[in-house]
């Protein structure tokens, strides 16, 4: 007796349901981001650029929070997106669904991408706006040699930086997700296995030499100005991150499908 093909679940609605499940993960960070935005805008409107050095330093530190905290958040999300499922036993619900691991994990990835993008835009965008257009950096007189940010005032330049930033965050997220899955396949010391896998994956990311590849790619967006050197915000980096994210997602999906993750 063969199953009828028309009874395949509609992937779109299934995917949306999975996305909605992830929504609860974002509520707190988004609220914090909203509060941050209000804070920054209010400060800009009322005080403008601080007259004192101390004021400017404090403001700089505040504005530096998103770029520093978001990578940590991405890592935390990466581990908890599967960790929460196992802790709450809801992984049994997901495993019983007639969809492949790539759909389940794909939804998590997309949700993380959307969430991290929103947070980067709000947090990163506002920070950028204040630091550059609000002339906070200028006030701190950090000099063009150090940051060469001044030239990056056009929207497209900022856009590329944002894309690079989000790609890096997603890379961290996916590495954590895969590390957790690998940890789950170990019979004992799952936490250690996950941690070691994560460090291993970051190592691969950091140490794979890109130079042989980037040499052949046009360096659009790399003309941020300032002294020549490793191009931090290059499209090659973004593409590499995207490739790595895809690879890690695929491996995690395979682990999921093979049932090794339910140790």
């Amino acid at each position: 007796m063969n199953p009828k093909p028309e009874h395949e679940p509609r992937l779109s609605s299934a995917f949306v349901e999975l996305l909605l499940l992830e929504g609860r993960r974002f509520s707190t960070p988004l609220l914090i981001a909203a509060a941050f935005s209000v804070l920054v805008v209010a400060q800009a409107v009322r005080v403008g650029t601080p007259a004192t050095d101390v004021g400017a330093v404090l403001l700089f530190l505040l504005l530096a929070l998103p770029p520093l905290s978001l990578p940590l958040l991405a890592i935390y999300w990466g581990f908890s997106t599967l960790g929460d499922e196992w802790r709450g036993h809801t992984h049994q619900l997901l495993l019983s669904l007639p969809v492949r691991g790539r759909t389940i994990l794909g939804a998590k990835l997309v949700a993380a991408g959307l969430g991290l993008s929103a947070l980067s835009l709000v947090g990163g965008g506002l920070s950028w706006w204040r630091l550059v257009h609000g002339r906070v950096l200028e006030r701190l007189d950090l000099g063009r040699e150090r940051f060469t940010i001044e030239a990056a005032t056009s929207v497209s330049q900022a856009g590329l930086v944002l894309v690079w930033f989000v790609a890096t965050l997603l890379m961290l997220f996916t590495a954590a997700l895969l590390a957790y899955a690998i940890g789950r396949t170990a019979r004992r010391l799952q936490g250690w296995a996950a941690g070691a896998s994560f460090i291993g994956l970051l190592g691969v990311w950091a140490l794979v030499p890109l130079e042989p590849v980037t040499r052949w790619l046009p360096s659009i967006g790399c003309q941020i100005g300032g002294p020549p050197g490793p191009c931090l915000f290059s499209p090659a980096e973004v593409m590499f991150d995207a490739l790595l994210v895809g690879l890690m997602w695929w491996v995690a999906a395979r682990l999921w499908d093979r049932g090794v993750v339910e140790a």
């Binding site: 199953p3 619900l93 007639p98």
Partner: protein, 231 residues
């Protein structure tokens, strides 16, 4: 017509064999009890049938196929743990399942929740133990799946909930068409349900036969037989 067939099915976790050489055959339309003490491998067997885990070795065939996406669609698995998200209400869960299982009958699901006296607007996490069990079962039965796998559906819950659960199972059971495999270590009130029983001990089958046949041979209740055989 065979619903489930396994041959020398085995599953190992680390150094422990949860199942060893399980060979059985379950006909379509039967209600089968998988019995035995805790740790005998009942849950593992059901997980393998549900496709939630892969076997270490041996053959397994569910509804004529190897467990996978297709069999997940055609079978309904109820794990022992509370596997719904704590924030999910009945309605939300119905919508969720409806997106994955095309044949899912939302109206039936609501009716079953009502039958089991569970409010569809209350969050899963805020329900009592017995109500969580009813919630899970209502949604599993609403799937109207060809194969229903229930892992300890009556585990440690109040008598009233047990009665409602058994009532609902019998109410929805499609005679001759639906196959139900129920794993339990508590047989009080339940043993009358089974056409056949499979008794597991330390991962192996010690006895597998029609329930009435065993009663006739042993002049004992199934509960008594399990106790004696697994002592």
């Amino acid at each position: 017509m065979v619903a489930v067939e396994t041959r020398e099915l085995s599953k190992r976790f680390a150094s422990r064999w949860a199942l060893r050489g399980i060979s059985l055959s379950i006909d379509r339309g039967d209600i089968v009890g998988v019995l035995g003490p805790n740790g005998s491998g009942k849950s593992t067997l059901l997980k393998l049938l549900a496709g939630v885990q892969r076997p270490t070795s041996g053959l397994i065939s569910v509804l004529g196929q190897t467990p996978g996406q297709d069999t997940k669609r055609r079978s309904a698995y109820l794990p022992e743990v509370d596997h719904y998200y704590p924030g999910m209400t009945g309605r939300r869960a119905i919508r969720f399942l409806g997106a994955f299982f095309p044949g899912f009958d939302s109206h039936l699901a609501l009716r079953l929740l009502e039958l089991m006296a569970v409010s569809p607007d209350e969050a899963f996490g805020s329900l009592s133990r017995g109500h969580r069990a009813r919630f899970k079962l209502a949604l599993a039965l609403a799937r109207q799946a060809e194969l229903v796998l229930l892992d300890e559906p009556l585990g440690g819950i109040d008598v009233l909930s047990r009665e409602r659960i058994l009532h609902a199972i019998l109410h929805e059971y499609r005679v001759g068409e639906q196959t139900i495999i129920l794993a339990t270590h508590e047989l009080h009130l339940v043993e009358g349900l089974f056409d056949r029983v499979v008794i597991l001990k330390e991962g192996r089958i010690v006895l597998a036969a029609p329930a009435d046949q065993l009663r006739s041979q042993w002049s004992h209740s199934i509960e008594g037989i399990v106790r004696e055989v697994c002592a």
